[in-house]
Amino acid sequence: MLTTKDKEGNFKVAGIVGCVTWVSLILILIKNLLEVLSMSFEVNGKVIEVDEDGFITDPDLWDEAVAEYLAKTEEVEELTEDHWKVINYLRDYYKQYGIAPMVRKVTKETGFSLKEIYELFPSGPAKGACKIAGLPKPTGCV
């Protein structure tokens, strides 16, 4: 791939560039694979464990940098003031009650309609917003 037709110097350089690209691609792939397998990610030197769906397993490890990282996994490119309004409400409720608030409660208390919440968090209030806010998934008849 890199050196077969390599009689001129120019080709050699291209070959090395190609090689570096390939190696780095493979490294990224391995890194991603390891992240999936070990189900964790690293932010600012902190290793954060997540479950199969990417929800963090220890809500105490959550911070804003973690939220920024998780946002990117849920199709939220940038966390705006409106995003933070929802996230902070979710976190405050969770701190006080030990569970995510009802969806209806979120819309009532933040003033955003369900449609607006979906605009902010395309994967929805539970899978998107709660995940970014570092809350666990509710289970049962939900």
Partner: protein
């Protein structure tokens, strides 16, 4: 999480059986058709064996060293304890009457989803270990060795059964596949092979009183908010009480109704009804769950979770228990409770304080289903109802598997619907009442990661809804089960967009004319009411 294929792809189902015999077909874990493994902390919370981190995707399931012994001993114990199990193991003549009755077989075409073959997965091991013919003749007698692959196959297929019992309606011997599934799951649990979507609710229920893990102050907060919403719609403040000693009745809903859309509208309906008739009732923050995910784990766990409702009823000194629109709660109460935790002699035989009707059928369990209670109120003219407030709903009724097949609760919900709504249409006969099709997500399988299987298994139900949707313009699927209310909206969005899901008491709440209420302009969902002078369709 697995991507769910488009409906037009999923509907291509191949029912042609494979060329090789089933024993030669190794189990293959298809994407989106199995649930995540139970986490160690969920098993530890209730003392279930072999808590560990593991995944069905990995080769090594980290079974205990003596796992074979554990299975054989577990099966032996259960064959002695449950005569029904031995009968179900011996009696099947493989006539095939059940084969095409299972929604999962209809939706997947996988022969191991035929109830007869699902049971054979266990029977083949039973034959090899516990019958002479199986020991001597092996495969010829339908027997096979227990291997780790068999355990994996059990895990895959016994967590692809929703214990809905449609097949048992058609079995000439009355073999109850749900019973077989419960036993198989019990055996899997002995090895620590449960799914998180069941193990976590069980742990929550055991520790905090309900599947969702709602703590007392959170429950109060949620109920208060729903009371606010009722006030917004009706102008009337309902004042539910919690853990009140000396109340006449303890009311236990499924926790999904307190927490999740669209169950909350049904919960609002309960509160409005109780307020209007002046019922002396209390909610409990300890027995805050009627549902019983224990019944998807083992008989022992089912018993433990069921017991807390009665312990709380005794502690509070109520006369009897009224239960909400829940599914498996009623299977446990109606068919197991009496010999498991009963008889509940410390309670009184339930009598409606409003009509004086004695609920003879609840003589032993002391627990009345809310649709029986409400149907009786309507029959005795105790409620003022305005069905036109539900005119935006064109309704069909999904008989939830457990209240239907485990209780025979067919007429009461229909009676309420017909008295609270003007537009009601039945789905085809072979898909309702005792022949009702499962939502495809029951028995703890409503996990998100299991979505492909849920959509496949829900296809027969969705197909029947599609029929009335197209023929009568039905836009609402009403049911009396919280798993249904969680599972059916997703199923409808996928197969029959344009159909939403409600509970029966949501309809009651809408239609109920309350003393001193303000002119209603919206339904409980906050949607504007349709009104015409002649009360006709719009």
């Amino acid at each position: 999480m697995a991507k769910v294929p488009k409906p037009e792809q999923l509907v291509n189902i191949d029912h042609k059986p494979p060329a090789k015999p089933w024993m030669d077909m190794p189990v293959k874990f298809e994407e989106g058709m199995w649930c995540y493994a139970a986490k160690p902390e969920s098993l530890e919370a209730v003392g279930l064996p072999n808590p560990r981190k593991w995944s069905p995707e990995e080769e090594d399931w980290k079974l205990p060293e003596n796992w074979k012994e554990v299975i054989f001993e577990g099966l032996r114990e259960r064959l002695e304890k449950y005569r029904s199990l031995r009968i179900f193991m011996d009696i099947c003549v493989r006539c095939g009457a059940c084969a095409d009755k299972c929604h999962f077989f209809l939706g997947t075409g996988d022969p191991k989803n035929m109830p007869v073959l699902r049971a054979e997965l266990l029977r083949s091991i039973y034959r090899k270990e516990f019958t002479v013919a199986g020991k001597l003749l092996g495969k010829m007698a339908g027997a096979r060795e227990l291997t780790e692959d068999v355990v994996k196959e059990w895990f895959y297929y016994f967590f692809q059964c929703t214990q809905c019992r449609r097949c048992s309606v058609f079995c000439p011997y009355g073999i109850d596949t749900a019973e077989i599934t419960i036993i198989a799951r019990e055996l899997l649990n002995l090895l620590g092979c449960n799914i998180e979507w069941i193990a976590s609710p069980v742990a929550n229920c055991y520790k905090k009183g309900n599947h969702l893990g709602i703590q007392p102050h959170a429950l109060k907060d949620m109920v208060e908010m729903l009371a606010d919403d009722i006030e917004d719609v009706t102008g009337i403040r309902v004042e539910p009480t919690f853990n009140r000693k000396g109340a006449e009745i303890l009311f236990i809903p499924p926790s999904g109704d307190v927490f999740a859309d669209p169950g909350i509208y049904t919960f609002m309906g309960y509160l409005m009804l109780f307020h209007e008739i002046g019922l002396d009732y209390t909610l409990s923050t300890y027995a805050s769950e009627g549902g019983n995910f224990g019944s998807f784990t083992s008989h022992e766990m089912m018993k433990r979770l069921n017991a807390k409702m009665y312990a709380e009823a005794e502690r509070l000194g109520v006369k009897w228990i009224l239960g909400g629109e829940c599914g498996h709660m009623w299977r446990v109460v109606h068919q197991y409770m009496n010999t498991m935790n009963g008889p509940a002699d410390f309670l009184e035989e339930p009598v409606s304080p409003i009509t004086g009707t004695k609920f003879e059928n609840a003589k032993s369990t002391k627990m009345v289903h809310i649709v029986e209670f409400t149907a009786d109120l309507i029959r005795n003219n105790k409620l003022k109802l305005d069905p036109s407030r539900n005119d935006h709903f064109r309704i069909t009724f999904h008989d939830s598997c457990n209240p239907a097949r485990a209780m025979g609760l067919f007429e009461e919900p229909r009676y309420i619907i017909k008295n609270t709504c003007n537009y009601f249409y039945e789905m085809p006969e072979e898909t309702i009442r005792e022949k009702t099709f499962c939502c495809g997500s029951g028995a703890g399988l409503n996990a998100e990661e299991n979505m492909v299987m849920r959509m496949k298994g829900g296809l027969p139900r969705a197909n029947a809804v599609k029929y009335v949707h197209e023929k009568y313009d039905v836009n609402t699927l009403t049911c009396i089960c919280a798993v249904d209310r969680a599972a059916l909206p997703t199923l409808m969005n996928y197969w029959v967009p344009g159909v939403s899901v409600s509970g029966v008491h949501e309809l009651v709440g809408n239609a109920l004319i309350m003393k001193g209420e303000k002119q209603r302009t919206t339904n409980l969902r906050g949607e504007p009411l349709l009104r015409t002078e002649d009360g006709g369709d719009v």
